[in-house]
Structure formats: C-alpha cells, structure tokens
C-alpha cells in the first residue's frame, strides 16, 4: 500500500537533525536563563539582559527549527503575517505601557 503524503511545508519539513538542534539549543537557553536568575549573584541589569536575550534567542530557535520559518517562498506569507503581528503587538504592548506609565507619573 503506497503512502501518499502532504507537501512538506512549514512544520512538516522537520528532520531528526533540525528537531535535535532546536531541542538542545532550547534546553541550553532555558537552563542559562533559570541558572542566572536562581544563582542571583549577577547584577540586576546583567540578569535582565541575559534572560531577555535568552528568551528572544529561544523564540527564534523555535520559529526556525520547530516551525521551519525561513525565507523560502512557501513560508513567505507566514513570515509576512508574523512580522505584521509583531508590528501590532509592539503598538499594542508598547502603547499600553507608555500610556499607563505616563498616567501613573502624572497622578503622583
């Protein structure tokens, strides 16, 4: 019995190697973020920078190795939608924080 398979686009383009690399990198980045926070000896600025850098790196690792977003034509609409969503979120989250902090400051 032949096995017909859907096009290998998006998350179905994974291989053992891609999932392996993504998994090891994710574990490392998670461990670094938790370790530097629980250790607590570094300065506040260093800890904050490290955990945010680790989080952004890990999100990129997940998008690349698990969801297989890249600049190939099949993924281009997905990437475009993602970039647009980031724009919306920056306006949304950034705008909210700006307004609420300004309000907080003026009502002191």
């Amino acid at each position: 019995m032949s096995h017909s398979s859907i096009d290998r686009t998006g998350p179905s383009r994974g291989t053992f190697t891609s999932y392996g690399i993504g998994f090891v990198l994710s574990i490392l980045l998670t461990a670094i973020a938790f370790w530097i926070t629980m250790n607590g000896t570094a300065s506040r600025a260093v800890i904050l920078t490290t955990i945010f850098a680790a989080a952004i790196a890990q999100i990129l690792v997940h998008l690349h190795y698990f969801l297989h977003l890249d600049r190939s034509s099949a993924a281009s609409w997905n990437v475009l939608a993602l970039i647009f969503t980031f724009l919306i979120m920056v306006l949304f989250v950034g705008g909210t924080l700006w307004i609420m902090h300004s309000l907080d400051y003026r009502m002191m």
Partner: protein
C-alpha cells in the same frame, strides 16, 4: 449521478494536490495563531501594567517556586520535540511510531497541565487567588489562558488518536496533524515569554 459521488479516493488526492489544500489550511491556521498571539499580547500588556500592584499581598518572589517552573518548562519543551518525531514518522507512514510518540507528547502535556493546576490550587487554598490583588488577577488570567490552550491541545490530540486509528493517514488527517504540531510549537513559544516575564522577572 452527481459529480460528487464520482469523486473517488484517487481523485480526492489529486484535488488536494492540485489546489494545495493542506498548504491553504496551514496558512489559514497560521493566521489564526497570529490573532491568538495578539490576544496574548493584550494579556501580557495587562500583566506588565498590573504586575506590581500587590495591594499589600504577596509578591511573585514569595509565591513562585522556580525549580517547579523549570520542570514545567522542560515538560513542554520535551513534548515539542516529541511532537516533531510524530511529524517525521507521519511522513514515513509509520502508524505505530506516530501513535507511540503522540502518547508520549500527550502525557508530557498532561503533566504540564497537572503541575499548573496544582500550582493554582495551592495559591487559591492559601488565600492568594485571583481576587487577592491586581497582580494575582493578571497572573491567573495570563497563565490560565496559556494553560487553557494547552488543555485544548490535549483534547485535539486525543481526537487525532481516534482519527489516526480509525481513518489512517488520509490527507485530511495528515493536514490536521500538521496544524496540531503548529499549535503545539506555538504554545511552547508563548510559554517562553510567560516564564521569562512572569516567573523569572519576579526574582530579578
């Protein structure tokens, strides 16, 4: 005889291929995920605004247990990798391997939900429920929304068990499995933001 009844299994496959139905479905599902991301963005913004309004109640530092959160993170991370294996074995048409790794993924996801329910139960029974302070309201809303998504993913996975066993790897079943994998990896990405902004930031 209508044209509908003339479509055999073979032509169904051709139609799927010709119109790239699986590709369109995954793009549509991706757009849903993006709108879900906007929902999470709104809840993160709420948390960022209210996260320090403790109303004289406990802070995150007093409530959260980082080793437990690390364990939850590992459960979700490993389950993302095991769902990757499900996708690989699906393309090779190995039904038993797909079912086996999907069972592992399901148990890991279930472990995550159980740990989160346990955390919520402990907090509420100690009087630190969502009604305690604006910080806790925002915390329960954000972490609870993510947990509800994971629980929905588990229900979806249970349905896919039945479909893989009952229908085999038909093109629609494969397409659904692919969208479930997108959903599952997406929830892992949201959790990275949750453990960084909610849990780790409380200790900095």
């Amino acid at each position: 005889m209508t044209t509908k009844t003339m479509i055999t299994d073979a032509t169904t496959a051709e139609i799927w291929e010709e119109h790239d139905i699986a590709g369109n479905q995954s793009l549509g599902f991706w757009l849903y995920l993006m709108s879900d991301l906007v929902l999470f963005g709104a809840i993160f913004a709420t948390y960022a605004v209210l996260g320090h309004n403790y109303a004289g109640g406990p802070t995150g530092r007093e409530l959260f247990n980082l080793p437990m959160v690390f364990a939850e993170t590992l459960l979700l991370l490993v389950s993302s990798a095991t769902f990757g294996l499900v996708m690989i074995y699906m393309h090779q048409g190995k039904r038993d391997w797909v079912l086996g790794w999907m069972a592992v993924t399901f148990l890991l996801g279930l472990g995550f939900v159980v740990m989160e329910v346990h955390e919520f139960h402990t907090l509420i029974s100690e009087g630190n429920g969502p009604d305690r302070s604006a910080f806790l309201s925002a915390f329960f809303t954000l972490v609870g929304t993510h947990g509800a998504h994971v629980a929905s993913g588990l229900i979806w996975m249970a349905v896919m068990f039945v479909q893989v066993i009952g229908k085999g790897f038909t093109l629609p079943v494969q397409s659904r499995l692919m969208r479930l994998s997108m959903f599952w990896h997406f929830l892992d990405i949201v959790w990275v933001a949750v453990f960084t902004i909610v849990y780790l930031m409380s200790f900095v």
